[in-house]
């Protein structure tokens, strides 16, 4: 698993809209260079696996701090330090729609998590926390390696239909519709509480993503992603876009799991990747040969587009 290093060899020198020659992304030959390119993927895996480890450690090995269990539960709902409730806001919304009264605890937990993801950027969930992301990333990487073409085209908006359906079915059937079939909860739960047949669903997603449709699950169907996509529309942390430096080389588009969000025209207008569908995975940042892209705050995009570079270098130094 690594960042795409599929470099396009230019036969002729093309110029970008900014007049500069379009340079391809070249994978550095040194390990340090490579690690630099892979840095976000490493960070993301650390966050994903680390949180999983915290859950596992608390359940199975009794990890605790000052006598309080560290992190009990799973991504559906959990308790941090034995006091702070956390809960999946989408799951709670569904249960709410089943018209059953909920304990305050889980509502507060959902609120806290919603707030966190609203601040961090909605679909940050998808690329930084969701365990399925590792499966779909692997499928996506293999797919590029093996140059597998999509079997058919499916609108990425279909997930919003699935989202709506989840909510409607929750009302109708009286049970949390997506929560009951969610491969995400299934995978996470079974990793923590014991393996069952859940791996079949996960394998299903892997095969679907690998052979049928690129980013089939996360990019097209997952209502949880869609839910966070809605949240992400107002998220303060965004990927900033330094318009003058972009040569439209499209290296970023090639690696992006949600390529639609890299609309250069729109990005140039607002100075950032504004779409809520962006998962803030950071892949585009590290393949951009021109350092056009960088993490930043939504407010920065309007003040100074150039400072974004600074922010990026600051971030880099800080890490």
């Amino acid at each position: 698993m690594a960042v795409d290093n599929n470099t396009v060899k230019p036969d002729t020198v093309k110029l970008g809209p900014n007049g500069k020659p379009v340079r391809p992304f070249v994978m550095p030959s040194t390990l340090v260079g490579k690690l630099k390119v892979w840095r976000y993927i490493i960070y993301r895996r650390i966050v994903q696996l680390g949180s999983l480890l915290l859950f596992l450690g608390t359940v199975h090995w009794g990890w605790s701090i000052a006598g309080e269990p560290l992190l009990i539960g799973n991504l559906s709902s959990s308790t941090l330090f034995g006091i702070v409730p956390l809960a999946d806001p989408f799951a709670v919304l569904q249960i709410f729609l089943t018209q059953h009264l909920l304990e305050q605890e889980v509502v507060i937990g959902a609120g806290i998590v919603l707030l966190i993801y609203t601040l961090l950027g909605g679909r940050v969930w998808c690329s930084w926390a969701c365990p399925i992301n590792m499966v779909s990333d692997l499928a996506s990487w293999l797919r590029r390696k093996l140059s597998i073409k999509d079997s058919f085209i499916l609108s990425r908006n279909i997930r919003y239909v699935v989202l709506a359906l989840s909510l409607i079915l929750s009302v109708i059937t009286g049970i949390a519709a997506f929560e009951w079939v969610s491969p995400i909860s299934m995978l996470h739960r079974e990793l923590i509480f014991g393996i069952g047949m859940g791996w079949m669903a996960i394998l299903g997603i892997f095969i679907f993503d690998l052979l049928v449709l690129r980013d089939g699950w996360c990019g097209h169907l997952c209502p949880l992603g869609a839910f966070y996509g809605v949240v992400g529309k107002v998220a303060p942390i965004r990927i900033l876009f330094d318009t003058p430096t972009c040569t439209h080389c499209s290296e970023c588009v090639r690696v992006c799991p949600e390529p639609k969000v890299l609309n250069f025209k729109k990005a140039a207008e607002v100075g950032m990747i504004a779409s809520g569908d962006c998962t803030n995975c950071g892949r585009c940042i590290t393949v951009c040969p021109e350092n056009t892209l960088a993490f930043g705050l939504r407010v920065q995009s309007n003040i100074s587009k150039k400072s974004s570079n600074k922010l990026e270098s600051n971030l880099r130094r800080a890490t």
Partner: protein
């Protein structure tokens, strides 16, 4: 022409989209119903709501599982005959030992396990039933392990002494009482037969109910009402005659 055809195409596609969504929705809800009814006999943690309420409220986070000191509870892995991801236990493996402080219920963030349950004795996880054909005590052996290990013995399980007839030994017959049995399953775990002869099941699978129209005369004393409130007779003029069908039908 073009606008017409594009409009038709749009309409067609919209209808198709709706149809697809509806089909998907139907299949999905079918799956959900299947899952929800996967195993109505699963033995739930103490304080669990009725199956529908529990299925709706349980967020499958496993916090009850983590807080169970005896590793009794587990989350149903996919493929088990229990609604996916929900907590349950198999008494024959590890029963509920009825902690006085009920940590599993306290851990539940959604209230799928009822937080108003204060005394573990009041929980109803299931009901123990005895297979009297294979129960050693019913047969006449001096076993009655279920009775002696029962955390609320003499209430949930009592012993009656019946004559054996074949010899001058009494049979020590265990009986389960649904008004006290919590379904903790300690008896099922302890039962020494190869396959447990006492097992915890959901009460609705085994419990009958006598008619509402009948009361057991010796259970609650209801003396003859002293101040009887005699209702006024209703005027029966408008009621149609009955019994005519039979009276007028066929040959005599």
């Amino acid at each position: 022409m073009t606008s017409k055809s594009s409009r038709r195409e749009f309409l067609t596609r919209s209808v198709q989209g709706v149809a697809l969504t509806a089909t998907g929705g139907l299949v999905w809800s079918y799956l959900l119903q299947q899952q929800a009814h996967a195993a109505p006999h699963a033995i739930r943690p103490p304080g669990a709501y009725d199956e529908a309420g529990f299925n709706a409220k349980c967020i499958k986070c496993g916090q009850c599982v983590r807080d169970c000191p005896y590793d009794t509870l587990k989350l149903a892995p996919t493929g088990e005959m229990v609604a996916i991801g929900t907590p349950y236990f198999i008494p024959r493996e590890i029963p509920c030992y009825m902690c006085e402080d009920i940590p599993c219920v306290k851990a539940c963030p959604t209230g799928a396990l009822d937080h108003s349950l204060e005394k573990i004795e009041e929980s109803r996880m299931g009901l123990a039933v005895i297979d009297i054909e294979n129960c050693l005590s019913w047969i006449g052996l001096r076993c009655e392990i279920c009775h002696r290990v029962c955390p609320i013995l003499d209430k949930a399980i009592t012993i009656e002494h019946h004559p054996r007839k074949l010899s001058k030994h009494a049979r020590f017959v265990p009986l389960v009482h649904s008004d006290a049995c919590t379904g903790c399953g300690v008896c099922e775990k302890a039962c020494p037969t190869e396959i447990a002869a006492i097992r915890v099941v959901q009460p609705e699978l085994v419990q009958g109910k006598i008619g509402e129209h009948y009361r057991l005369g010796w259970k609650i004393d209801t003396p003859i009402t002293q101040e009887f409130k005699a209702p006024k007779r209703k005027d029966g003029k408008d009621t149609p005659a009955t019994g005519l069908d039979y009276l007028n039908q066929g040959e005599i």
